[in-house]
């Protein structure tokens, strides 16, 4: 008897949004469960003066202790940590940043739109570290090609093997003089540079680029405020057969039958859901090999001397760019493996914490350095390790009585050595450009703060060492897919969103194909 139940998609961000976009266009009925509400832009995006905020900009205590990106101005955006608690090992802080709204974290991403390369997909072949993905760059390239035009990615083609080119709207803008000086310094040192590659538009979100098209097909129903508790399994067939969820407000529980389930609830939420559901873990690997990318924010803060006095001549300041990974590409050349990238930007005023002044003297100096700053942020690869993992902490439950996650994640000597190298190279690059370096450091932000958490349900060719196969389908259950960042086997130093979108597109088309064949 044919199964007429819908595909249930959990999550509405990059992964869930792309799954809905692909499947509904292929004529497949889908129901999307999103834990949060639909954003009303006219109502929810109004910028209020600080005097109208209940806590005058300082925020409600305890609401976002780990979300450094949050402020009281945008407090309606982030998942409240009192409602959504989690735990971590003492002394090993993990900053878990969540958005529970239709569109997920694509409502507030940095839009950096990079591809991974075979330096990531086949990293183990290159240097013997970590594991290979079960796919290569050639498998995913056609999907990147289709994702980039949807997100109107602007960039400049360079031919870097470690940072494949894509289908870009061409960025042929000229650089400011300060950036030109920096680029010349980089060239002299043999460090590659390029323009940023970014998705453009007023919004570049699942909420405006993917979901409206999916809804327009008539094949998508979005259920908002649906907090998923469990994915259920048919004991006879071994297949998943539905999803239990609670209304966010009433806490009333509902169930929905499913022909197949696509989990795209974000790296850690998807892993948590599978752990809480007791599914897809015959390998014992579920929750393990969690990783992210190290971030050293403002690894160097410099001043462009000619811009002092707050009167930088037109054309001197502004703009920025990107330095892709350049370490350990050919041979192992440093005291660490893999490498790091930089964002760099010209303009703005340096953070007051880098100035050894206070009071009037500080105010005067900030005016003097207005629009004179040049800063760099380093982003480095973290090798996934079995010991970095999440598990269910049954002693802590969220607002809906669902057991919370306990996160164990530490950086190692490899990451610390990488951060120090990134600091020294940044310092040298800025000096080479004639900038005055006023501060440099190698202090990484806590794990999670980059919001590039990856792994936990990793893909792999071997069901004994991975959760998902090469199509993001669980090895254990053929009608259960996970298409978000939890599927990553490694992540390089590139921002992961384009890869999540491409993986979800590829997996969704595979699911449709399997449905046509009658395999799902």
């Amino acid at each position: 008897m044919p199964n007429d139940n819908p595909i249930v998609i959990i999550g509405s961000g990059a992964a869930g949004g792309m799954a809905a976009y692909v499947l509904t266009k292929l004529g497949i009925k889908c129901v999307m469960l999103e834990a949060g509400p639909l954003l009303d832009l006219d109502r929810d995006r109004v910028l209020k003066p600080v005097s109208e905020l209940p806590y005058r900009g300082f925020g409600r205590p305890g609401q976002f202790p780990h979300v450094v990106q949050a402020s009281e101005f945008d407090a309606n955006l982030w998942a409240d940590e009192k409602q959504n608690p989690y735990t971590y090992d003492p002394g090993n802080q993990y900053n878990w940043v969540r958005i529970r709204l239709v569109g997920g974290k694509t409502l507030r991403w940095g839009r950096a739109s990079w591809r991974l390369s075979d330096y990531e997909f086949k990293g183990k072949d290159h240097d013997g570290m970590g594991d290979n993905w079960p796919i290569s760059y050639a498998d995913l390239a056609p999907f990147y090609d289709r994702v980039e035009p949807i997100f109107k990615v602007v960039g400049r083609k360079e031919g870097f093997p470690q940072l494949p080119d894509g289908v870009f709207l061409e960025d042929s803008s000229t650089d400011s003089q300060s950036v030109q000086r920096f680029l010349a310094s980089a060239k002299k040192m043999g460090v590659p540079t390029t323009k940023q590659r970014r998705s453009t538009g007023t919004f570049a979100s699942s909420a405006n680029l993917l979901l409206p098209d999916a809804v327009a097909t008539g094949n998508l129903q979005i259920v908002t405020n649906a907090v998923v508790r469990e994915i259920t399994k048919d004991k006879n067939t071994g297949l998943v057969n539905g999803v239990s969820f609670l209304n966010r407000h009433s806490k009333q529980e509902y169930t929905i039958p499913a022909r197949a389930v696509i989990v795209g609830a974000s790296c850690l939420e998807s892993t948590r859901l599978l752990l809480n559901s007791g599914l897809a873990n015959s390998s014992g690997i579920l929750g393990h090999y969690l990783f992210d990318q190290i971030y050293v924010k403002n690894v160097v803060t410099a001043i462009v001397p000619e811009a002092r006095g707050g009167n930088a001549p037109r054309g001197l300041m502004g703009g920025g760019g990107y330095i892709p990974r350049f370490r350990n590409l050919q041979t192992r050349e440093k005291n660490f493996v893999r490498g790091y990238a930089y964002d760099f930007g010209s303009g703005g005023t340096p953070n007051p914490k880098y100035l050894p002044l206070y009071g009037d003297a500080l105010v005067k100096e900030l005016a003097n350095l207005n629009n004179a700053s040049f800063s760099m942020t380093a982003m480095g690869e973290v090798i996934p390790r079995h010991e970095n993992h999440v598990r269910i902490d049954s002693t802590v439950k969220d607002e809906w009585d669902i057991p919370a996650l306990h996160i164990t994640h530490k950086y190692t000597d490899n990451e610390y050595a990488m951060a120090i190298d990134a600091m020294n190279v940044a310092d040298e690059l800025c000096h080479g450009a004639g900038f005055e370096v006023i501060a440099k450091h190698a202090q990484m932000v806590p794990p999670g703060e980059s919001i590039h958490e990856l792994g936990g349900c990793r893909m792999g060719a071997d069901p004994k060492t991975s959760v998902l196969n090469q199509h993001n389908q669980t090895h254990d259950i053929k009608n259960l897919f996970v298409t978000d960042g939890s599927a990553f086997v490694s992540g390089g130093s590139q921002n992961p969103t384009m890869t999540i979108l491409a993986l979800s597109m590829r997996a969704s088309e595979y699911l449709a194909q399997e449905m046509r064949k009658g395999n799902v």
Partner: protein, 150 residues
């Protein structure tokens, strides 16, 4: 059936005095005659009431609208014009920099010289800004228009 412009007119902000750009520009005035660009060049200004009175002391002085204008002038109060185009405070924007780069008033404000009533008929969202920057080979880097992330 409404045309898109007719629909926008329905949403147009009510101004304190019915002012026609079409009528005034047809007389040979230019945008910069009334909207001056003072240093450092970010903002375009609104005219002081006395500028209007250079002509309206005699021209149409009996119309109710001009009488209202005359009252503002006598009290040395600015006319409380309602702004039609506004850019959020977290965006750096300079009219002067755009003019120097070759943008015209019409680029962002539409065919003002043909309009009796000004409505927001040109998209000035971030997406529109980025499209225009890219087409004109201007930077689309975040820090070009927004404060550097700290």
């Amino acid at each position: 059936m409404f045309s898109p412009l007719a629909f926008l007119l329905l949403l147009a902000a009510s101004q304190p005095i019915p002012y026609s750009h079409k009528t005034h520009l047809a007389l040979g005035l230019e945008c910069k005659n009334c909207h001056t660009n003072r240093d450092p060049g970010e903002m375009m200004g609104f005219p002081v009431t006395s500028t209007c009175m250079v002509c309206h002391t005699t021209v149409k002085k009996d119309s109710p609208a001009i009488q209202k204008l005359t009252e503002y002038a006598k009290e040395q109060k600015p006319v409380p014009w309602v702004r039609v185009y506004q850019i959020p405070s977290y965006v750096f924007f300079s009219h002067r920099a755009h003019q120097q780069a070759g943008a015209t008033c019409q680029s962002c404000h539409g065919p003002v010289a043909q309009r009796d009533v000004i409505v927001k008929e040109v998209d000035t969202s971030m997406g529109a800004c980025m499209d225009c920057h890219r087409k004109n080979k201007a930077s689309i880097d975040c820090t070009y228009c927004h404060d550097q992330r700290q």
